[in-house]
């Protein structure tokens, strides 16, 4: 398993990125963490819909996103990698609107190389392969990062996507966030394989396991996979070993199935704390600097939430125009009926 930073924040190898970049990575991880915590609170107040926090998994998603070039490379999410998407350029304001259920959050800004969130497990994987294959056909230098969870590996789409990607040598990195749980199903109940990374062997491309709570390990592993993809050598499956410290979704209560000792063991492996210890002991930032970042992040969230709340509610007619490039006859007649009679 690839690892740079151990559980105690001790560096085991040369840091694979500059100190400035490491600090910036930490900041975005923190932004993701505080965003999720805030949203869980807002959901409990009735101000947000059901949501799936990524608490504990920030290193896995931010580390992977840092290995991309946002000008050319695509981020294809499931729904538990917001921290990484923030790094890639997804605005906080839209992130808040996503959890309010506003459709504008699914309208990815034109300058952003990202697909919308996907609720259907592993449904984004065949799309990511098509996207990557298409980039290759167009001699576009871009590559595609597709993110999913351990539960996703049990889906048929996972097989179809990885199989085709291997055959076509599509420039795609499959990042599996193995967070230990598919809702309440453990990985041991999910597969008889000794690891998820080893599944790549069957598809004829490399599979690598890395410490998903180590920003540097995820970054370096995905960086190498990006280099392979760009060089035309095809896909890589990366299994980032992480842990869901929060809820599956706000409709879930993990205390009903999660052994407390297991939770506590992973609290000790918290990726944020690991980075804090490393950055402070390396002299990149001091305690007061960390507090300043904390305050800045809090302020960013406040501003973004305020902006999000100003977003006007969508016109119901909006929905008719978004699903297809051109409006079908059937949808068109539904729209005109709606315009005549409203929702009644």
């Amino acid at each position: 398993m690839v690892r740079y930073l151990d559980q105690d924040g001790e560096l085991l190898d040369d840091q694979p990125m500059s100190d400035e970049l490491a600090l910036e990575g930490y900041r975005v991880m923190l932004r993701g963490r505080r965003f999720d915590e805030r949203c869980v609170s807002l959901q409990r107040q009735g101000r947000m819909v059901t949501l799936a926090p990524g608490i504990g998994q920030e290193a896995a998603t931010v580390g992977a996103a840092m290995a991309l070039d946002p000008k050319t490379d695509w981020f294809v999410p499931q729904y538990r990698e917001l921290a990484g998407q923030l790094w890639h350029g997804y605005p906080l304001r839209l992130a808040f609107l996503w959890h309010v259920g506003h459709p504008i959050a699914f309208q990815v800004p034109d300058d952003l190389k990202m697909l919308p969130f996907q609720a259907a497990i592993a449904g984004q994987l065949p799309q990511a392969v098509g996207l990557a294959w298409g980039l290759r056909l167009k001699h576009d230098p871009g590559v595609v990062l597709a993110v999913f969870g351990d539960g996703g590996t049990s889906q048929g789409d996972f097989h179809e996507a990885l199989n085709l990607a291997g055959v076509m040598k599509a420039p795609v990195m499959f990042l599996c966030q193995n967070n230990g749980w598919a809702i309440s199903t453990t990985v041991e109940h999910q597969t008889a394989s000794a690891s998820l990374a080893q599944k790549a062997l069957a598809y004829g491309f490399p599979g690598v396991q890395c410490d998903g709570n180590d920003l540097f390990a995820v970054y370096a592993t995905v960086r190498d996979a990006v280099a392979r993809a760009r060089a035309g050598e095809g896909p890589t499956l990366i299994e980032a070993m992480t842990y869901r410290l929060g809820l599956h979704t706000t409709a879930d209560d993990p205390t009903r199935y999660e052994p407390r000792e297991m939770h506590e063991m992973w609290v000790d492996r918290d990726p944020l704390r690991r980075m804090q210890i490393h950055l402070v002991s390396r002299g990149v930032v001091d305690r007061s600097g960390l507090e300043r970042i904390e305050d800045e992040v809090k302020e960013e969230l406040r501003v973004a939430w305020d902006e999000a709340q100003k977003e006007p509610a969508p016109d119901p007619a909006y929905y008719f125009g978004r699903a297809y490039a051109s409006t079908s006859q059937r949808l068109g007649s539904q729209l005109s009926r709606f315009e005549r009679k409203g929702l009644g």
Binding site: Q43, R44, T50, A251, D253, T255
Partner: protein
């Protein structure tokens, strides 16, 4: 300052109602934004509900144990800053369903009435409108005495002690107790129970149990007495598979179970819980002792998981610790039988024409007569008796 009525949001997916588990903040307490105010219990989870803003909680509209509809007002916040519309605007206004709310409660027109839930309940019972009561507590908070004084003054007191028929303290059925009530009603309503009583000579059995316990303790382990009872049941169930079955009424079928999973009725502080020893017939005695010990401790400490409580195919109940004698039991549907053991005590019995003292264990075998007939019932009891009186087969 502005008043904000906090309504129970849909915190699950399509949640209709939730029970107030615990107030985390009292009336008159100051809260900051995002601070948990109350813990709500849904069918799926216990969820802390944070405050949408900073301010003072001036009123709780529901007491712990009350079931609150989604959209009903949970509490009122005197907010420092106005709080904007909070989601789900379309949620219907709904009433709080409160324990013991038999008569329609007088309207509490004063939204800013400062009174803790116990006092509100008293006011409802005495027919007192809290808005008319002047509070004598801090910040005008209404106390129980205030309410009683008001009731006496208004001559409303007749409403209270004058109706002895529905007087007394009312305790809502909750949690474990509620489940017990449901399961036992279903059992008594739907199952034709037949019980046979037996007195079993437990001399050798008790000796074996003591020997095994001493051996376990020398190894630093434990050997609960129930271990041997579970073993007896498991061996007998293998010989009489009809007792290790359930009735699928809807399909009109008897389901014969492959696994022998023995539930052990366990008294806990909350009520009766039946943790299940899975595959009791396949474990060796040491494993069985460890598992019996584990599930019983988990049940007593409230740590039993759903898996520990599900999947039972048969139940035993040992009332010996409470000096229980012969008694009937109720079968846990969809199971078809249950056996209860009482306390082993020396009794005068006749052996070969002589009256002698022997340790006797009372045992009652109860079965579902829709599935099991009298002959089968006696056959099963005979096997149980044989295993207890000649326990050499239990030790392997």
């Amino acid at each position: 300052m502005s008043k904000f009525e906090f309504r129970l949001p849909d915190i699950g997916e399509g949640l209709a109602e939730a029970e107030v588990g615990k107030w985390l903040v009292g009336v008159g307490d100051r809260v900051v934004e995002d601070q948990p105010v109350v813990e709500m219990m849904t069918d799926k989870a216990a969820v802390e509900i944070p405050s949408p803003g900073a301010g003072i909680v001036v009123e709780q509209r529901a007491a712990e144990g009350d079931v609150v509809k989604t959209g009903a007002v949970l509490y009122v916040l005197e907010a420092d800053q106005p709080i904007g519309a909070v989601g789900h605007a379309a949620a219907p206004r709904a009433e709080v369903r409160s324990e013991g709310a038999a008569a329609p409660a007088p309207s509490e027109s004063g939204g800013g009435v400062l009174a803790p839930p116990a006092v509100r309940k008293l006011a409802r019972e005495l027919g007192v409108d809290l808005a008319r009561v002047k509070g004598s507590g801090p910040a005008g908070r209404i106390t129980a005495e205030d309410v009683q004084r008001q009731a006496a003054a208004a001559g409303a007191a007749r409403a209270a002690p004058a109706s002895p028929a529905d007087g007394g303290r009312r305790v809502r059925l909750r949690g474990v107790q509620k489940r017990m009530a449901e399961t036992m009603s279903l059992s008594a309503r739907s199952i034709p129970h037949v019980t046979g009583f037996h007195e079993v000579d437990a001399g050798h059995f008790v000796e074996l149990a003591s020997r095994l316990r001493r051996a376990a303790e020398e190894r630093g382990g434990r050997f609960p007495f129930d271990t041997l009872l579970v073993r007896v049941a498991a061996l007998a169930l293998r010989q009489h598979p009809i007792f290790n079955a359930s009735l699928d009424e809807a399909a009109g079928e008897i389901v014969m179970h492959d696994d022998v999973n023995v539930g052990v009725a366990t008294a806990t502080r909350e009520g009766l819980i039946v943790p299940v020893v899975k595959n009791a017939d396949t474990l060796d005695l040491e494993e069985l002792a460890a598992e019996v010990d584990r599930v019983a401790a988990a049940a007593r400490d409230g740590r039993a998981t759903l898996a520990d409580l599900q999947g039972g195919t048969f139940t035993i109940s040992n009332t010996g610790a409470w000096r229980g004698g012969l008694g009937t039991s109720l079968i846990r549907p969809p199971e078809v039988a249950i056996v209860a053991f009482g306390r082993v005590e020396e009794r005068a019995v006749v052996r070969e024409g002589q009256v002698v003292a022997r340790p006797i264990m009372p045992m009652s075998v109860t079965f579902d007569h829709r599935v099991i007939d009298g002959e089968q019932g006696l056959g099963f009891a005979l096997t149980l008796r044989g295993l207890i009186e000649g326990p050499q087969d239990l030790h392997r």
